[in-house]
């Protein structure tokens, strides 16, 4: 047990969770207080002592599943032949099912035709029957995934194979149809929506069961350590903008909201707790009246540093679009920390999009509109930083003043066009600060058609901004 736990903790550290020695010891003490056969309690005991940040919970869960999935009686892998309460239960269900079809049932699920299996699944989903769903997940994996020991493919491959055979998207529609019939007629729109959410929730649950089942089998095949390694995913704050999958993007979006709240609180605090200002003479005299004219209580002026004005110029061409979207979201979520925010987007043409944000309170809606409506294509829709900057300077250059900070976003991959770096040089002379944020790793800069160095020399700093962590650090510095 000790070995297993220390392996588990090493893996957590490998996944990026900061687990200290004392926390490790706490975990050991904690599990001595709970019944080990209770898997849920065991999980929470470890979670409460080892994971101190909710964003890390998912990573913890994955590692936990890998290390401790095989060790519960109800999860033992029995290949098909029914045993244990779940399977008994299953058989009863099945019998009931079969009778309706005049097909006296016997044996395990192995003998079912795919159609029958689908019917049972549909019933289980309809009634929200957890035990049944788990049994079905097991059966589905066994039947459709085609898992072979030692085959070097990832769990996602098996997952795909299993789900393809089950056609869960069609299932959702069928379920809706069935519940319409049950009510006998039409559902109101509200009811329809609620039913749909309910079924989607159940199907999602079922998918998770399937995933867990595949993982269990893979662990049995390959061992926990190897499996944990393949499943290792970066923590949300370390996910790279440029290579984030759709799922990771969703998670990033979720992480963004608490982050902005945190940043806003921090910035406001920073502004308030600056140095103390000079003596406020008027105020001191006014308060001295209460003490018969003795200035007993000196009052000081609090400096009110001007909030910076922000001009964001972002490249939104395909390669860096996700990064630009993210930064715009973050900046606008923090917009009350700045006196004014203006946003420009470009590919090879440039357009101002400040109004899109003004018209709606919903930042993601504004971003959506930018993607569809902004006029950013001039010739061919390949990034041309030089032209975009030139036009920017011509049209809006005079509005840059010593109060404004300019942030340029992009990878500076200019497709070998002219750089027009003089624009940045001029800009630097007029603006308070000019920063460049580059979502590419530093080692890629100035390779190929990237000319970030050419622009960079004229700015106050070029920052690598590959993930949320780096973006957060930059924004904090900015205000």
């Amino acid at each position: 047990m000790l070995d297993l736990l220390s392996g588990f903790i090493v893996e957590l550290r490998n996944a990026g969770l900061p687990v200290s020695l004392t926390e490790n010891l706490d975990a050991m003490t904690a599990i001595s207080h709970i019944p080990l056969e209770d898997r849920e309690a065991f999980k929470y005991a470890l979670g409460a002592t080892l994971v101190k940040n909710h964003a890390h919970w998912r990573s913890f869960e994955t590692v936990f599943e890998v290390y401790f999935s095989l060790r519960g009686p109800e999860y033992s892998i029995t290949d098909g032949d029914g045993e244990g309460s779940v399977d008994d239960f299953l058989r009863q269900m099945q019998d009931a099912q079969m009778k309706g079809e005049g097909n006296g049932g016997a044996g395990g699920m192995d003998q079912l035709t795919p159609e029958e299996l689908m019917n049972i699944l549909m019933n289980a989903l309809m009634n929200g029957d957890q035990a049944m769903m788990r049994a079905l997940a097991r059966q589905a994996v066994q039947r459709f995934a085609g898992m072979e020991p030692g085959r070097p493919v990832g769990g996602t491959y098996y997952l795909y194979r299993t789900l393809r055979n089950l056609d869960l998207d069609g299932m959702s529609e069928k379920l809706m149809e069935a519940s319409r019939q049950q009510v006998g007629g039409e559902l109101t729109k509200l009811e329809e929506r609620l039913e749909r959410d309910e079924y989607n929730h159940r199907i999602e649950q079922f998918k998770q069961e399937v995933e867990a089942e595949i993982r269990r089998r893979l662990v049995a095949d390959r061992g926990a350590e190897a499996m944990a390694k393949t499943l290792r995913k970066p923590l949300p704050e370390d996910v790279e903008f440029m290579h984030a999958s759709r799922d990771e993007m969703q998670n990033l979006k979720k992480a963004l909201q608490p982050l902005t709240r945190k940043l806003a609180a921090k910035l406001a605090r920073k502004r308030r707790h600056g140095r103390k200002g000079p003596l406020d003479f008027r105020n001191t005299v006014r308060h001295s009246l209460a003490y018969g004219g003795v200035p007993a209580e000196p009052k000081f002026k609090y400096p009110r540093p001007a909030k910076p004005e922000l001009i964001v110029v972002a490249d939104i061409s395909g390669s860096v679009a996700a990064f630009a979207r993210f930064t715009l979201m973050l900046v606008y979520a923090l917009s009350n920390q700045f006196s004014k925010v203006r946003a420009f987007v470009f590919i090879d043409g440039i357009d101002e999009v400040t109004d899109y944000f003004k018209k709606t309170e919903d930042v993601s809606e504004a971003i959506q509109r930018i993607n569809t409506e902004a006029d950013v294509i001039w010739v061919d829709g390949h990034s041309d930083y030089g032209h975009a900057f030139e036009v920017f300077w011509e049209k809006w250059g005079k509005e840059i003043n010593p109060k404004s900070s300019v942030i340029l976003l992009g990878d500076a991959r200019n497709n070998y066009h002219a750089s027009q770096a003089w624009v940045i040089k001029e800009m630097k002379q007029k603006a308070r600060k000019v920063y460049w944020l580059n979502p590419e790793p530093r080692s890629y800069w100035n390779t190929g058609d990237s000319i970030v160095g050419e622009y960079g020399v004229h700015t106050d700093g070029v920052f690598e901004c590959r993930n949320l962590r780096q973006l957060e650090a930059f924004v904090e510095k900015l205000a």
């Binding site: 900061p18 200290s20 004392t22 926390e23 706490d26 003490t29 904690a30 207080h33 709970i34 209770d38 849920e40 309690a41 929470y44 005991a45 979670g47 409460a48 002592t49 994971v51 101190k52 940040n53 909710h54 919970w57 109101t188 729109k189 509200l190 329809e192 929506r193 609620l194 959410d197 309910e198 929730h201 608490p258 709240r261 945190k262 609180a265 921090k266 605090r269 709606t360 309170e361 919903d362 993601s364």
Partner: protein, 287 residues
């Protein structure tokens, strides 16, 4: 000292008896905190019952609840202890002539002149207490250090008096809305508990226990609608307390089931931003 709870299930049942429906995680962590003698750091969205958890544990164990509300600028004299300066002055002036200096010195730094604040009060209490340090993320990082000694050793050091050690280990809850990252040192000393929005079934149970005179049917509908709304991309997702407010509103209106029209008219109880209300109404097709 004897543990307060025998099993996780006991915690769960006990909490249920005082109308707090805990899930496995909550009950499990509370049980562990008692066994390990460690504070619990409770984190999660606003309005999910973090503070209520501490109150309910207090009620369940029959302990007195001592609450320290944190805010920016909270300091030692508000959180730990303070010398009663005026009383000390009086003492010195009262017998100017009689005592020697050392007598007076020993005297004015005695228990009599010490004003206890919540943290010290929790430590010195004779009877069982539950200490709630609310919204700990509001204090500055420097002030956090104040809490470290009391959280790990259950003692307070007062330079003039020496160290005061707890007579009994109180249950300690710290809540945080996560407006800033708490220091590693603080996190390390605590068990971590994230309280999220409840699953639909649990939310329904909560509505049923907390709202009087509600029908099962209505509670079910409410829980389902709230779940659907939480899946939308909103500025502020409805919290449990808002769900309860909504349920009470509907009960007051004398409804037994809810249809789209009524849902739309009362949606402002649940959601606090106009854009959110519009969005929810549109998404749920009830406009």
């Amino acid at each position: 000292m004897a543990p307060r709870f025998d099993s996780v299930q006991q915690v769960r049942d006990g909490l249920k008896a005082v109308n707090y429906l805990a899930d496995d995680g909550i009950a499990g962590v509370a049980f562990l905190a008692d066994r390990l003698g460690k504070p619990i750091l409770v984190e999660g969205p606003a309005g999910t019952g973090k503070t209520q958890l501490a109150k309910s544990i207090a009620e369940m164990t029959g302990a007195r609840l001592i609450r320290l509300q944190c805010y920016e600028g909270l300091d030692e004299s508000k959180a730990l202890y303070e010398w009663n300066y005026k009383k000390q002055l009086l003492r010195i002036q009262a017998d100017k002539n009689s005592d020697s200096w050392s007598d007076v010195h020993d005297d004015i730094f005695g228990d009599e002149f010490l004003l206890t604040r919540p943290l010290l009060e929790a430590i010195t209490a004779e009877e069982p207490v539950v200490l709630l340090i609310d919204e700990v993320d509001r204090v500055e990082v420097e002030t956090e250090a104040l809490l470290l000694e009391i959280l790990s050793e259950y003692q307070v050091s007062i330079p003039e008096l020496g160290t005061i050690t707890a007579k009994q280990i109180p249950m300690v809850f710290l809540t945080s809305n996560n407006t800033r990252e708490l220091s590693e040192a603080l996190k390390r000393r605590c068990l971590f508990l994230h309280v999220d929005y409840p699953q639909m079934d649990r939310e329904k149970e909560i509505v049923l226990t907390k709202v009087e005179g509600i029908t099962e049917m209505l509670a079910d509908q409410i829980a389902r609608i709230v779940r659907s709304i939480r899946q939308l991309d909103l500025k502020k997702a409805p919290s449990v307390s808002e769900t309860l407010d909504w349920a009470r509103t509907l009960v007051l209106l004398g409804l037994e089931t809810i249809d789209a029209e009524q849902a739309k008219e009362t949606l402002h109880v649940l959601l606090k931003y106009q854009t959110d209300i519009a969005k929810a109404a549109k998404e749920l097709s009830i406009d």
